[in-house]
Amino acid sequence: MTDVLMAILVAGFTSGALYALATVGLSLVWGSMGMLNMAHAAMLTLGGYVAFTVITSLGLPIAIGFAGAILVGAAAGAILYFAIVRNLLKNDKSTFESNVMIATVGIGIALENAILLIYGGQPLKQPVSIAGAFRLGPLTLPWQNLMIIAVVVVMMVVVSLALGRTRMGRAIRATAQNRDAAQLMGVAVNRVYLQVLMLSGALAGICGVMVSSMTQLSPPLGNDPMLKAFIMCVVAGLGNLPGAVAAALGLALLESFVQYALGARWGFPSLLFVVIAVLIWRPSGLFGRAEIRRM
């Protein structure tokens, strides 16, 4: 029984770590810009393919593959800002949220199809994997899962330090909390938006490498984690970063337990059930605050 419980916990924490990484990227963009980035899934997929190309086609070390995924993810965020977001921000602010959502749906589809054209639709094996397991008495912990959890923990610490301790991070948080006040302090909010999209893109890139290391590379790779990350964002309260991490871990553990107890097909419906219940009980999410809009 203990090893079954441990297997569920390890699977839950691994999925939770991956969801947290995807969720933080989404939540960061929503919280600071009011933008739901529907291209996040495609950016995640892009990261996985970049690492694959760097390691397999170019024959470079795995660390360079990681770095490539981070850099290309950040560059994709920058391109998204300069090509789409900056121009939409010049228009009526009240239409930004809906327009940017539609625009990023298009960008996501285009990117996914570009990947399909270049790499084909056949699943590919991500070379970032570690065989074997760490054994401690009756416990068996796969190195691959431990590596994923470790990478995600490192990324979370880096993001927390960047947001909490740096001037750039303070400007991002200030813009998220009160955009006008941040501008009055001298913060160039457009530069903050660029930084946020680059940071989110970098997180998506590394998330793509991790997700594909557990499954396989395919053009729709990012869709499932993106959908679940969105559910977790809503459960936590859109824009709430610590809440997003807590929701990601909690829901991933729930999903693992439900999959074990009721069968794999009940995992996703259980998440949907939770999100519906939360939206009825607390429409602003578990950790969100009600938004009052002056009409």
């Binding site: 400007a171 948080r173 200030a174 009160n178 006008d180 006040a181 501008q183």
Partner: protein, 242 residues
């Protein structure tokens, strides 16, 4: 009250026009604030006082006329206006609610050149507003109304700007707290800070302001010394309801 004789102008407004969507709120306002001077704009609610400050700081776009700081024309972008030394303490404080008092103050010094300068400004603010030092680790949303106002002023001071724009500092506060807030503003004026303050009640600034402008329906209808306005019962009755 400070003497402004032969002091150079810090802020100059030349026939500025601004508003929201189809509504024109400011209809050609011109005024000057000289170095070290305390100038107040008074007027009833909804006649453009806050819009005036927001237009100067760039939050509301300028539609006509021009605004200069130290002779340099403003671009209309709020962050560039802040770089030129305009420190706006907005109505309702607009603090960063989920940040601590200290983080709010540090955001005020966002453009400060180095850590030594930030520390100097922080020491200055804590000396003037010692309660902020006691509350430095408290989350801004948990502060009382008076403390929030002090934090807003402190954050404005941390900007180390050429001019402080203060929007209705007495709004929503108990009389005792209003006295404390104006006590701090009086201290700032004494040490030579250049201040443009908007207020509904002219009695609040009677002993503080060097000059006063009366704003009505987006236009300046009278200018002079505060004591002169307080002696004009017909003006007070017509524009400020007595």
């Amino acid at each position: 009250m400070t003497s402004a004789v032969a002091k150079p102008p810090v802020l100059q407004l030349d026939a500025i026009v601004s508003g929201y969507d189809g509504l024109e709120v400011l209809k050609g306002i011109s005024l000057t604030v000289n170095a070290g001077e305390f100038v107040t704009v008074v007027g009833p609610n909804g006649h453009g006082k806050s819009t005036l400050l927001k237009t100067i700081s760039g939050l509301v776009p300028l539609r006509g006329g021009q605004i200069s700081i130290d002779g340099q024309r403003l671009s209309g972008k709020p962050h560039e206006t802040a770089m030129l030394g305009v420190a706006h303490v907005p109505q309702g404080d607009m603090l960063f609610a989920q940040m601590s008092v200290l983080e709010n103050l540090l955001m005020g010094a966002y453009l400060a050149p180095d850590k030594a300068e930030i520390k100097r400004r922080l020491d200055e603010v804590y000396t003037l507003l010692p309660k902020l030092a006691d509350r430095r680790n408290q989350i801004a949303s948990s502060l009382s109304g008076g403390e929030r106002r002090m934090a807003g002023i402190g954050r404005g001071l941390m900007m180390g700007g050429r001019i402080l724009l203060i929007d209705e500092p007495s709004l929503g506060l108990a009389p005792l707290i209003i006295d404390q807030v104006y006590g701090v503003i009086a201290e700032l004026s004494k040490v030579g800070r250049t201040i443009l303050l908007v207020e509904e009640n002219p009695a609040r600034v009677e002993d503080l302001a060097d000059r006063l402008h009366l704003l009505d329906d987006g236009a300046i209808v009278w200018s002079g010394k505060p004591a002169e306005l307080m002696a004009r019962d017909e003006l007070l009755a017509t524009y400020l309801g007595g």
